[in-house]
């Protein structure tokens, strides 16, 4: 009986000492699978925002109005998408999703943003000295954008111990660069409730 008790004590002590396992398992999954692990902003949120913005932006009257008036597709540039939330959120994925879908749909044209332009312009300037006359790209022939896409992500957090409700709001606006008119505003809200257990084994 005592021997058994000793064994139990030894086992308990070992469990307490925390023999952690470091096994890693990897499972491939479809890129659009919803994976909510920590409750923070993730790829699913990014995708939902992109889908909503693409659907909304391409179905509003501003697009037909511009095409009818100008007889061509509008040219857009991505401006500042500010993160005003309480999480570090990379806005690049959903902005790229929006750009890709709208370019591929043939409804709009995008020009490079200031960061992208810097690299391309450096290349073009280099071509003026290094490239052959037949292949050289001319300076001052860039396409000027008609509209700038700007936006922000905000979040409101309400929390008590172990529970957190976060409302993310992504606002995007399309501004006519010449007239400064706002021709489209899109909003996507995502709310999450995260509950964390107070105890674990």
């Amino acid at each position: 009986m005592r021997a058994k008790l000793s064994l139990i004590i030894v086992a308990v002590v070992f469990i307490i000492a925390g023999c952690a396992t470091s096994g890693v398992s990897v499972e491939r999954t479809a890129a659009d699978t919803q994976t909510d692990l920590s409750g923070r902003w993730n790829d699913t949120d990014s995708r939902l925002v992109a889908e909503e913005m693409i659907r909304d932006m391409s179905s509003r009257p501003w697009l037909n109005n511009f095409s009818a008036a100008q007889g061509r597709r509008p040219v857009l540039i991505v401006g500042s998408i500010r993160n005003k939330s309480s999480e570090h959120i990379d806005t690049t994925p959903f902005v790229k999703d929006i750009e890709r879908e709208l370019i591929n749909s043939g409804q709009m044209t995008f020009v490079a943003n200031p960061e992208e332009r810097a690299g391309v312009r450096a290349e073009k300037e280099d071509q003026q000295f290094e490239a052959s006359q037949e292949t050289i790209k001319r300076l001052g022939e860039e396409t000027g954008a008609d509209f700038m896409l700007i936006g922000s992500i905000t979040s409101q957090v309400d929390a008590i111990e172990g529970k957190r409700a976060t409302l993310y709001q992504v606002d995007m606006e399309l501004i006519n660069i010449e007239s400064m008119e706002k021709v489209w505003i899109g909003t996507k809200k995502i709310k999450k409730l995260v509950e964390q257990s107070k105890v674990r084994w």
Binding site: V10, V13, I16, A17, G18, S85, S86, Q196, V199, R200
Partner: protein
């Protein structure tokens, strides 16, 4: 001496128990940090951080002390100007603190049997707040205003949580006229950080959101009113912080010294026939136990043979020699900074709130273990007899002493004091220095270099002195 088979089993189990207790109760001690502390004293922060990283990490931190590792190394990288590495480490600390909100039942049970060192170090409230403050400063140092603001919003969420948890006083204060409210002294519970609120004020103001800045200003005032034990000095911020300056306004945040470390006070209580003896030992800088007191007194009726060893943690301030910080712009003294947070005091207050629980838990555990050991020793004497019984008793005492270790874990490299100052300075480029003084003697000059101060801009300069 003949040893029976049964006695051998008993002894084997006792030795096994000793080994296990020694292995599982090993603690984080102060000794390995002597070399690191020397590097920090010489201002070699990044080198100190790298020394503790990689393969050497296990020499300084156990697996259960990951939060401490990330906090300490993150702060050292911050002082060393390696802001990206600092942020990476502080991020890890924050994620783990969040994860450890969920307490392990098995570890809690282990702490009742052995000591608190078997539990994951989950960080103190103030550590969780300060890591965001320094992450924010890291981002701002790299010119990433939005990311710095994200950290400030996280601080605000955490402070709101703490306020909801601990501050019934604040609620009363907020809902009544100032004159009608009877403000009571705080119960030492830290739930609002003037430093964190000030960094938040700076960012809201830098954004041009003066309503947001005013809310932070009010929270700073509240921190001083409702936590007088922690903020026992004059508030350094007044309503001029909410005024739009004519020219540029340079905001300076300076930190000095180092946060307290925990050391162990060891009390050994032994009973003889009608006597009780108490031996007290403190820990020196190298972690060696030094006897500091011995008392023996007559206690009629006390049974001999009991031995209890207590180890209780206490905070030893590292402090700062700095008492004055002066801003010098273009070789001209401009003004002095004022203390906004005694971070050392907050660490102490947090510890004091927890101390009664630590004390009761330790005493209860030790007495239970002491009584069980005494019963076991008697049985051993009866079963094994003579010399083996004595040996078994010694082994049992060693086992209990090995398991009874104070939890000395705390972050080591947060500053002791935080200072702030706001100065109206003409727009444009200026050469900015901070002079740190102690008793009128110049200790250190931190050349912040040429800063381009703009009207309406954040214009934040930060500095640290290890003195």
């Amino acid at each position: 001496m003949v040893v029976s088979g049964h006695s051998r089993k008993v002894l084997f189990r006792a030795f096994l128990l000793v080994s296990l207790l020694v292995v599982v109760s090993c603690t984080t001690r102060n000794e390995p940090f002597v070399e690191i502390d020397n590097a920090v004293s010489q201002g070699n922060y990044a080198q100190a951080a790298r020394t503790m990283s990689g393969e050497e990490r296990s020499a300084y931190y156990r697996d259960k002390d990951k939060v401490l590792y990330y906090l300490d190394v993150g702060m050292l990288y911050h002082y060393g100007g390696e802001y990206e590495l600092s942020t990476q480490h502080l991020n890890e600390a924050e994620l783990l603190i969040e994860q450890y909100f969920t307490k392990s039942i098995s570890q809690a049970a282990g702490s009742l049997l052995l000591n608190d060192n078997v539990m994951d170090y989950a960080g103190e409230d103030y550590e969780d707040i300060y890591l965001n403050v320094f992450k924010s400063l890291n981002f701002l140092s790299r010119g990433d205003f939005d990311a710095g603001f994200v950290e400030v919003r996280r601080v605000n969420t955490k402070l709101n949580l703490l306020e909801d948890k601990y501050s019934s006083l604040a609620a009363g204060y907020n809902s009544a006229d100032d004159a009608a409210v009877e403000l009571k002294a705080g119960d030492n519970r830290f739930y609002n950080s003037a430093l964190a609120r000030y960094v938040s004020l700076l960012l809201y103001r830098g954004e041009g959101d003066y309503d947001g800045a005013r809310i932070d200003y009010n929270k700073i005032v509240e921190a001083f009113l409702l936590q007088p034990d922690i903020y026992d000095f004059e508030p350094p911020v007044d309503e001029s912080a909410l005024r739009r300056p004519e020219g540029a306004r340079l905001s300076v945040l300076a930190f000095a010294g180092r946060s307290p470390v925990k050391k162990a006070k060891t009390l050994t209580i032994a009973t003889g026939s009608n006597t009780v003896s108490i031996l007290t030992m403190d820990e020196d800088d190298a972690g060696q136990l030094i006897p500091t007191g011995y008392n023996s007194f007559f206690w009629p009726g006390v049974e001999g043979g009991y031995r209890f060893k207590f180890q209780l943690p206490y905070l030893e301030p590292q402090g700062s020699a700095v008492d004055t910080i002066r801003l010098v712009v273009d070789a001209q003294p401009v003004g002095q900074l004022k203390m906004i947070e005694n971070m050392e005091r907050i660490a102490e207050a947090t510890f004091q709130v927890k101390y009664p629980i630590i004390f009761m838990k330790t005493v209860t555990r030790t007495i239970v273990k002491g009584i069980l050991a005494q019963v076991g020793k008697k049985q051993l004497q009866e079963q094994a007899g003579g010399g083996w019984g004595l040996l078994g008793s010694i082994v049992a005492d060693i086992a209990i002493e090995a398991s009874e270790k104070a939890d000395l874990r705390t972050s080591r490299y947060f500053p002791a004091h935080a200072y702030m100052g706001e100065f109206d300075i003409p727009e444009g480029e200026h050469f900015v220095e901070l002079e740190y003084y102690s008793g009128g003697s110049l200790l250190q000059v931190d050349e912040l270099g040429i800063l381009n101060l703009t009207k309406g801009g954040l214009n934040l300069a930060t500095s640290y002195s290890n003195k």
